[in-house]
């Protein structure tokens, strides 16, 4: 009796060390080979002059020195930063208002919730091209503007209007996603708080600012963090709307567009593109820390 239990324990023990690794192996292999290794190699390549077909030599900080004098890099940094500044406040506030609008279970509300989510489901390429046509010189928006007598606007030909249009598209596509996140948070706001505020004579706007906002504050921080990181890495919207070369004189190029343009193709400057990627990493991490720190300061 006792000996069979020992034998089983031994068998179990022999089985244990191999099977867990067998279970985790595919995941670890893929993650290691295609995420973690490329990450480390990006950091390493940033200090080399590697090209697509030419193995690089160590060049120290030369790539970063070159960045400082590269106008395109500063344009990219400016546009990606502007993107964060323009997109994040809208994506923190508008989906919250939208969530409040669809929160009440009035008839047909599930249809509206789903409908508002549709842009999230569509590919960014589809969304980008839909808006390219909407904002075209002869497109729907300009037709409407002309009908009401404003006249036509060159949304896709002016450098700044282009960037603004792309931001609008990012916000438009993100609304539904963050709305769902806020809906989950709003469900946890105690109704008694609203009632108490109403008794005290607070109007809808006061109640929104004094009850709703503090109750969903941590969700707002989460949305701020998620949307700012995503906004800084913007690529597709601007690529599709301004074109691969980034609008007039490349003035609408973003950092990730610059990475893509510099690093790919047979003559791609892998080392230099990696240096730009390192800047993207650093700013991304900094943005996260900034949002989290702002959160902690608010709390105290």
């Amino acid at each position: 009796m006792a000996s069979s239990a020992v034998a089983r324990a031994l068998r179990v023990r022999r089985q244990l060390p191999t099977s867990p690794w067998l279970f985790a192996a595919p995941g670890l292999l893929i993650t290691g080979a295609f995420i973690l290794y490329p990450f480390v190699s990006t950091l390493a390549n940033a200090f080399t002059d590697r090209r697509t077909l030419i193995p690089g030599r160590f060049v120290g900080l030369a790539n970063f020195h070159e960045l400082l004098n590269d106008d395109m890099f500063w344009i990219g940094l400016r546009n990606s930063t502007l993107y964060v500044v323009g997109v994040v406040p809208a994506l923190v506030v508008l989906p919250l208002l939208l969530a409040l609008l669809v929160q009440k279970n009035i008839p047909g509300i599930t249809f509206f919730r789903s409908a508002f989510y549709t842009p999230v489901v569509a590919s960014i390429v589809v969304v980008g091209l839909i808006w390219v046509w909407l904002l075209d010189e002869r497109g729907l928006v300009n037709s409407l503007l002309e009908t009401i007598g404003v006249g036509r606007v060159g949304f896709l030909s002016d450098q700044w209007l282009l960037l603004l249009s792309a931001m609008t598209v990012t916000v438009w596509k993100g609304l539904g996603y963050y709305m769902i996140i806020y809906l989950a948070a709003l469900a946890n706001v105690p109704r008694e708080l609203h009632e108490a505020a109403a008794v005290d004579g607070a109007g809808a706007i006061r109640r929104f600012l004094t009850v709703t906002v503090p109750a969903v504050r941590s969700t707002m921080v989460l949305v701020g963090a998620l949307s700012s990181v995503a906004a800084f890495k913007v690529f597709s919207e601007v690529y599709l709307m301004a074109g691969p070369s980034g609008g007039p004189a490349g003035e609408d190029t973003t950092l990730v567009m610059l990475v893509q343009r510099t690093g790919t193709g047979l003559t791609g400057r892998v080392g230099y593109a990696s240096a730009i990627s390192v800047v993207v990493f650093v700013v991304t991490v900094a943005l996260m820390l900034l949002v989290l720190r702002a959160d902690r300061r608010d709390e105290s």
Binding site: L28, I35, F112, L222
Partner: protein, 303 residues
């Protein structure tokens, strides 16, 4: 309660209002008619803004070559709807081949993500072994790496493996997403351990416990992983754009970008192409909304 009724003119006391169909909020409270009307007005306005652009694209794609698509004021409905533009897309680019490529990539992504992340998630949640914490940490780190920053290194890795310009190369980097692994891990952690313990005492080995007990209990999370894997692969743009250079290998998104780049002035054609690309996903979403919404919640908390 009585205080509240004094402050708010209670609608139920007014007979004229009481005869209206009773509309209540999630707490069983009446919603006032004026407020309700305002809500629906706003909802319709937002509906026009979010769904309108898709409908305009659909309308444009159905307008024939003789119909003016630039008119001002705009004409919202096609006067003589025709599928002519869809035929033209197929004549211009091999759009059905691209759709098939997208379908292959998306299907492969679903299978590998479901199987791979369920296996790894189970290992992280249930199996005791040395190095488990390191393995968990590896997935957490991988989840935090911004993909846009490593695409060049991923591309050179693919070149070294000889997999650039193949559909396998498109699938491989995302085929077992770190976030999916962690989602599955959490799903398994939330299962009561006792059931598996009982099975273990009854002599079930690890595979049996995984396949017969744990896996059937996390079907919901697997559905979420599957749907987001499908959507992610079908919609992806940057990575296929980098890894695919041969037009015969294009996926739909890359094909659309090509169509737009080459025939930008043919709005009807591009519109038809975008509708072909977006229709399957909207259909999928219409059928499986529940899981789409659930995935947002789970993904956001962990992401």
């Amino acid at each position: 309660m009585s205080v509240l009724e004094k402050v708010r003119p209670a609608a139920s006391r007014q007979p004229a209002v009481a005869r209206e169909p009773r509309v209540t909020d999630e707490h069983g409270r009446r919603v006032r008619v004026g407020e309700l009307a305002l809500r629906y007005l706003l909802l319709l306005a937002v509906l026009a803004l979010t769904v309108g652009p898709f409908l305009w694209q659909l309308s444009t794609s159905l307008k024939g070559p003789t119909e003016d698509i630039f008119s001002s004021p705009p004409k919202f409905l096609p006067g003589d709807p025709t599928l002519h533009n869809y035929e033209r897309v197929a004549d211009t680019i091999p759009v059905w081949d691209y759709a098939l490529n997208s379908l292959k990539v998306a299907t492969a992504n679903v299978v590998t993500n479901c199987v791979g992340s369920a296996l790894a998630g189970y290992a992280l949640a249930r199996l005791r072994y040395r190095g488990r914490r390191v393995a968990t940490l590896a997935f957490i780190l991988a989840m935090l790496v911004p993909v846009e920053g490593i695409i060049i290194a991923q591309f050179t890795t693919m070149r070294e493996l000889g997999l650039n310009n193949t559909l396998i190369g498109v699938v491989l980097p995302g085929c077992i997403g770190a976030m999916n692994v962690l989602l599955m891990r959490n799903a398994f952690l939330n299962l009561p351990f006792e059931i598996e313990e009982a099975a273990y005492v009854d002599g079930a080995n690890v595979w049996q416990r995984f396949l017969r007990i744990a896996l059937p209990s996390v079907k919901g999370t697997i559905a979420v992983v599957a749907i987001f894997a499908f959507m992610g692969a079908w919609d992806d743009f940057l990575w296929p754009l980098i890894v695919l250079s041969d037009p015969s290998k294009f996926t739909l998104t890359i094909g659309l970008n090509y169509l737009h780049g080459t025939f930008a002035n043919d709005e009807r054609l591009v519109a038809a192409g975008t509708i072909i690309a977006v229709a399957p996903l909207i259909a999928l979403f219409a059928c499986l909304q529940r899981y789409f919404f659930r995935g947002v919640g789970e993904g956001a908390v962990k992401g």
